[in-house]
Amino acid sequence: MVDNKASPVLQVKDLAVAYKIRGGEIEAVQDASFVIKRGEAYGIVGESGCGKSTVAWAVLNFLGANGYVKRGQIKFLGQELTQKSKSELRLLRGDQIAMVYQDPMQALNPSMRLGDQMKEVLTIHRGISDAEAEKRCAKMLERVYMPDPVNVMKRYPHQISGGQQQRVVIGMALLNNPALLIMDEPTTALDVTVEAAVLDLIAELRHEYDTAIMYITHNLGVVARVATRVGVMYAGEMVEQGTVEEIFKNPRHPYTQGLMRCVPKLGANKSESILYPIPGRVPPPGNRPAGCMFAPRCDYADNRCQEEHPALRALDNVNVRCHLAEEIDWRQWTPTEDVIAPPAVIAQAAADQPILEAKSLKTYYPVKGSSLKDVLGLGEKRFVKAVEDATFQIKRGKTLGVVGESGCGKSTLVKTIIGLEDSTGGDVKFLGFDITGNLSTRDEQVIKELQMVFQNPDSTMNPTYTVGQQIARPIRRFKTVPNDQVRAEVVNLLETMRLGANYFDRLPRQLSGGEKQRVGIARALASRPDLILCDEPVSALDVSVQAAVLNLLLEIQQKYDTTLVFIAHDLSVVRFFSDEIAVMYLGQIMEIGPAEAIYAPPYHPYTEALLSAVPVPDPTAKQKHIRLQGNVPSAINPPAGCRFHTRCPRRNLLPNGGKICQTEIPPWREPDDEHKIFCHLPTDTLTTFEPVISKEGNG
């Protein structure tokens, strides 16, 4: 090992990685160079298909049977890795180089106890005795804040939660005190509150162990929080590189600037700010332009950019791959004409009539027991209380955002409204019709007015049928237009979605994720519904595509005066997009009100915790540090009294340490006419909470 603190751990120089495919090869990574020093976290950001993960795999030589390092050097602690044999690399991996991937469930062996898996790392690489290894593992688990480590080691992966699994994986990676830790989207699959805790842990461990970290993510907020230096990748190249403060304060490359413009800042809303998607899409490897990779999507591109490939060069404190970097001032930027900038003011007319009204809506799922009694139907009936006493209303032309961690019942709420699930109790009125029953009990007229947009672009469309056929189906089914005009109507919808008539005969597999999602929206629009329920419509998309889809949704909302229910786990997106917001926890609405009221004090303690967990894409912003302890309790047996009391960080503000929270259901506090908070804390106390983010970024 090297003693010098600032000595480089990993040096990647002019790296190019190619995959052999039928009839040739494609260069997934063309030119990546960077250095990671001890104790440094190097963030690599970029959209999907830019070669971020390929770089990580190249370091470990995990490129599969058809991939290889074509050019360049990868030096780890001074040794060249590209020349090493498989067995030499195997000794390094897991010992001096460790990795953490996105899905902890796939990184852990489901049939081995966690302790045994962890011990393997030590016994294989270091030849440590079993008993000693056991001790060290327990210590490491304690280090990563795992409650009850000795017990956890006896469990199997499925017996602990996703956040805990990722902690085990991180702990396992750190057991041998590796010089380099590679993390590929380690928090993408986790909830914000869990993500925040894991990111804290990573930062802490970096300081303590002085490990070099290579952190790959698509999320600018996460990079701002975790990294010290950042490399931005585009189409297989490193396009900009510098310290995190420098990159966020003064992005030089037009691509980096574009990325910053398409994510909503936390607290930004649709009437004050506009998202600017980057036009076009990342060129696939094998079809990349000759000049600057970004030229076809760049507002500044001139002739030189089309012809001459720019090199990565130093400019002030950063490295940037752009011919025009000196001349571009990103503050002077104005959108070019073909970028949609929807007029931001929402029409206020006729907005008073609520279109949907729910009163103490309940949805329970029966749980099947496995005892003999249960099989015979004699056992006690148990339920997952997925939605409990939801009361809210939505006015015409408005958007209700629903936020909460996974398992909080937001999807069930939407499914109940649309009729895919039966409600268990309560009252829902839509346009004056009762819609408490499921779809089979509803009138065709009601069905047609309620449509849904789904999360996963890959499964939202039937792979068998063309785009045109799928959009036409609801039109024919509900006879929205006469049969001979169906095609024209479909083309019209496609154009509204900015797709064009030539998409009519395409099959889903020929579309990109964003295009599929737009077709999904077009299909939902086809029956001309009054209310569209959007279940995480943009969370599976890249940021620039996400911005474009959000803009389209805003546009159709204005054009057709559509009402939207918008579910998302990204709080900045929900804030940007919604007029009203409901915060859910364990099936219960904890706080509901106008968007601006939710994001400013008075907060519900849970909302406050959520907001302080959101990764903010601004390294200079000061954010309150509130982390929830423990796991979300089971919805089969939710805590009595206030459902949040087991994790509430504000309980002790009440007399007696908040005993009342354990026994009594909290009252609705109404600090404002429309704003309601479900909490025992009196409004006066809630109002004293500080704002979560004290310094707004440069937005």
Binding site: Y19, I21, I26, G49, P284, P285, G286, N287, I418, G419, L420, L439, S440, R442, E444, I447, L450, Q451, M452, F454, Q455, N456, S459, T460, M461, N462, P463, T464, Y465, Q470, R473, P474, R477, F478, D505, R506, R509, Q510, L511, S512, G520, R523, A524, S527
Partner: protein
């Protein structure tokens, strides 16, 4: 790679014929599949030729009995002095090309093996879709019933069907259908369980489509890849079944030759003329193996292209 493929495909919408050819031509990427396809094509061509020409009338007893292969009878003659080559060629017809109906001389295009497999795929798909999509009690009842059916040895099922309905081409089709349907139903059910979780099924449900529309228009077309491969294998099994029934003497009725029956008849003089048993056995084996290889190649290539 995926991005590049889609890039190429976006170039121009190819004509329907080109698209079909492109779909078919993926089989050439697999060597095993290509060999299988050549074997299957060989028998299809043989069957077509036999409609118009065989070296000699297949049922004519014009030759010396049990001769080994020679210039006159390329594969020799059987125990009644019939030309084995002509009979083998003719034997393909009833498997692949025609079904004799019990009414006069009426003939249905499409062989017994083909109709049998179509029957089991149709019945199996309907049962599997209902079991998989509806779930609950429907699923329990359908699957328990099919499991009970699977528990019977196949040959016993054949005998039961034939004992109940008598002999004939249609009866063999029914027998193949009944014995094949449980397997198809299991496959379709498992595919349905996967496909029904997709969002486009939710979209159809929120349009309140009928259950039959969802099952047959939304789910079934997306199960066609695995189903096609399975059908190929099943044609192989069906040919085997026809051979078995023919060998037992309860298969396709005379006078037309049938490979299983040919083996059975030649078995009696196996020491005098062993080749007379070998030829029809080889024919059955090569067609079944050809179909298996073809199906394997198809599965391999389809799974690669579905990504």
């Amino acid at each position: 790679m995926e991005a590049m493929q889609s890039g190429l495909k976006l170039a121009a919408p190819p004509s329907r014929l080109r698209r079909m050819w492109k779909n078919i031509s993926i089989i050439f990427d697999s060597r095993v599949g290509t060999i299988g396809m050549i074997m299957v094509l060989f028998w299809i061509v043989t069957a077509l030729v036999s409609l118009f020409w065989t070296p000699y009338p297949p049922n004519a007893t014009d030759f010396i009995q049990n001769t080994p292969p020679n210039i006159q009878n390329l594969l020799g003659t059987d125990q009644l002095g019939r030309d084995i080559l002509s009979r083998l060629m003719q034997g393909t017809q009833v498997i692949l090309l025609k079904t004799r109906l019990p009414w006069g001389k009426a003939i249905l295009p499409g062989g017994v093996a083909i109709w049998g497999v179509l029957g089991s795929v149709t019945l199996g798909a309907v049962l599997g879709l209902n079991a998989g999509y509806r779930g609950g009690w429907t699923d329990q009842i359908i699957m328990q019933f099919l499991d009970a059916l699977i528990a019977f040895p196949v040959i016993v099922l054949y005998l039961v069907v034939i004992a109940a309905l008598g002999q004939g081409d249609l009866v063999v089709i029914v027998a193949i259908t009944i014995t094949g349907a449980p397997g198809v139903a299991r496959l379709v059910r498992s595919l349905t369980l996967d496909i029904k979780t997709r969002d486009y099924i939710r979209a159809a449900e929120t349009r309140a489509e009928t259950i039959w529309y969802i099952m047959f228009k939304e789910i079934l077309p997306n199960a066609r890849g695995p189903l096609l491969v399975d059908s190929m294998l099943r044609v192989g099994y069906a040919i085997f079944a026809i051979g078995t029934l023919g060998f037992l003497g309860i298969g396709l009725p005379p006078p037309d030759p049938d490979w299983g029956n040919m083996v059975n008849e030649a078995r009696r003089s196996i020491f005098a003329n062993p080749l007379a048993v070998v030829w029809p056995s080889l024919a059955i084996a090569s067609l079944v193996i050809g179909l298996n290889l073809f199906a394997d190649g198809l599965r391999e290539e389809l799974s690669r292209y579905q990504k």
